[in-house]
């Protein structure tokens, strides 16, 4: 389990990248980290992997701080958004390097992964395309059999076939040795299918950190036809995040329990009422709108 408590990280120039963050990430889950640009996703991942020292607060991995702690670090692997490789090395040489650093590095696993990924392990990594470099990084990461796999935008730049391979390897790691994966990404469609828990970050803080299926129950997309359309004061005990009207048709985004919303709206005698759960992308946009990261002020 990863435990984060009042975690704060500041950088030069008065930037507070991670601001009093608190959260739990359960073992064996696929955790999706989403958020606006500069919201602190990468900084949080670097704090969890022990690259940065927190200015305040703690991050504990199974009860121990990862910073300058080789034992904890040997059980986690961080694939950064810009994977680092030693100059002029190929995958075989990098494997040798990781074998020195990670006691859990498995030759058997590495050989298996070599047969899975269609890249030449003797090609210099510097000559590889961006997507192939990502594959090389993931291949090395999975050879270590980490308990915690941190992927910073690791899916970006991978082709659909390889994405499916990675998903299967993640599923394998979770069922075989209860691995935990934390994935940051802007591809919300993909995270929605993959993750069981999601944390939304904005300006260094969590907006929410919950089970994905629970989040979907807290916001409803409602389409209703009313004759006549109720005046705004009749809708005021509903927590409406967004409302648009086209004739007698009201499109609303309402925060709250599905049945409660249905009951309240039924009292207004709709001729038609439909409620659908929102997608992760919609939740992202509405929650950030509510946090004053206004999409409408950006769109022209």
């Amino acid at each position: 389990m990863i435990e984060i408590n009042s975690l704060t990280k500041k950088f030069q120039g008065g930037i507070t990248a991670v601001d009093e963050m608190s959260a739990y990430i359960e073992t064996g889950s696929i955790y999706g980290l989403v958020g606006s640009n500069g919201s602190g996703k990468s900084t949080l991942l670097r704090l969890i992997s022990g690259v940065y020292k927190p200015d305040n607060g703690i991050v504990l991995i199974d009860g121990t701080s990862p910073y300058e702690n080789p034992e904890v670090k040997s059980r986690l692997f961080f694939v950064s958004d810009n994977p680092y490789f030693i100059h002029q090395c190929n995958v075989m040489e990098m494997a040798k390097f990781y074998k020195m650093a990670y006691s859990r590095f498995s030759d058997e696993r590495f050989n298996y992964l070599r047969s899975v990924f269609p890249i030449d392990p003797n090609m210099r990594i510097v000559n590889m395309s961006k997507g192939m470099q990502r594959q090389a990084a993931l291949m090395l990461a999975l050879s270590v059999n980490p308990d915690y796999l941190l992927l910073d935008e690791a899916f970006d730049g991978l082709d659909p076939v390889i994405r499916q391979v990675i998903k299967r390897l993640l599923a394998d790691g979770i069922t075989e040795h209860n691995m935990t994966a934390i994935i940051s990404s802007h591809n919300l469609r993909e995270l929605e299918d993959l993750c069981d828990h999601v944390g939304l970050l904005h300006k260094g803080k969590f907006i929410f950190n919950r089970e994905l299926d629970d989040i979907k129950l807290t916001i409803q997309k409602v389409q209703g036809v009313f004759n006549p359309v109720p005046p705004p004061e009749k809708l005021k005990d509903l927590n409406i995040l967004r409302i648009t009207q086209q004739g007698s048709l009201l499109n609303m985004i309402i925060r709250g329990d599905r049945e409660e919303i249905r009951q309240k709206l039924n009292q207004l005698n709709p001729t038609f009422l439909e409620m659908v759960p929102p997608t992760l992308e919609e939740i992202f946009i509405y929650e950030l709108e509510a946090a004053n990261y206004d999409v409408n002020s950006i769109l022209l």
Partner: protein, 126 residues
């Protein structure tokens, strides 16, 4: 075995639950047939094993499957499955009502049809 639609708004765990329910109803799965393991289904579909686990838990709570420690999950007796037929009937009804709605049938009129059927007024009356 079950297929899922990643474009659908229906959550994946619900699609798995519905998928197995349907396979039972159409007779593709019989009582005491073994379900794929959580691992193999997750690998086949390329989805989160926790999602599969959640679906199996729901199926078990519904009495559709039973599990034996160390052996896996199995379809339960068909007698228990008959109640699941209601869910399929509801789906058909919903499809019919959706069709009526998109063709402009007012809610009040649909309500009348429903009331008529349930009070026996339209029985055998074509």
């Amino acid at each position: 075995m079950v297929s899922i639609d990643l474009q659908s708004r229906t959550p994946i765990y619900e699609q798995i639950v519905n998928g197995f329910s349907r396979l039972c109803l159409i007779g593709a799965l019989h009582a005491h047939d073994k379900l794929p393991s959580v691992r193999s289904l997750a690998l086949d579909l390329g989805i989160n094993p926790n999602t599969v686990q959640k679906a199996y838990q729901i199926l078990e709570n519904k009495g559709l499957i039973y599990s034996i420690e160390g052996k896996g999950s199995f379809i339960s007796d068909e007698a228990q499955l008959s109640s699941q037929k209601y869910s399929q009937i509801c789906e058909h009804l919903k499809a019919a009502v959706t069709d009526a709605y998109t063709q402009g049938l007012p809610k009040q009129q649909a309500q009348i049809v429903l009331d008529d059927v349930y009070s026996g007024r339209s029985a055998g009356n074509d």
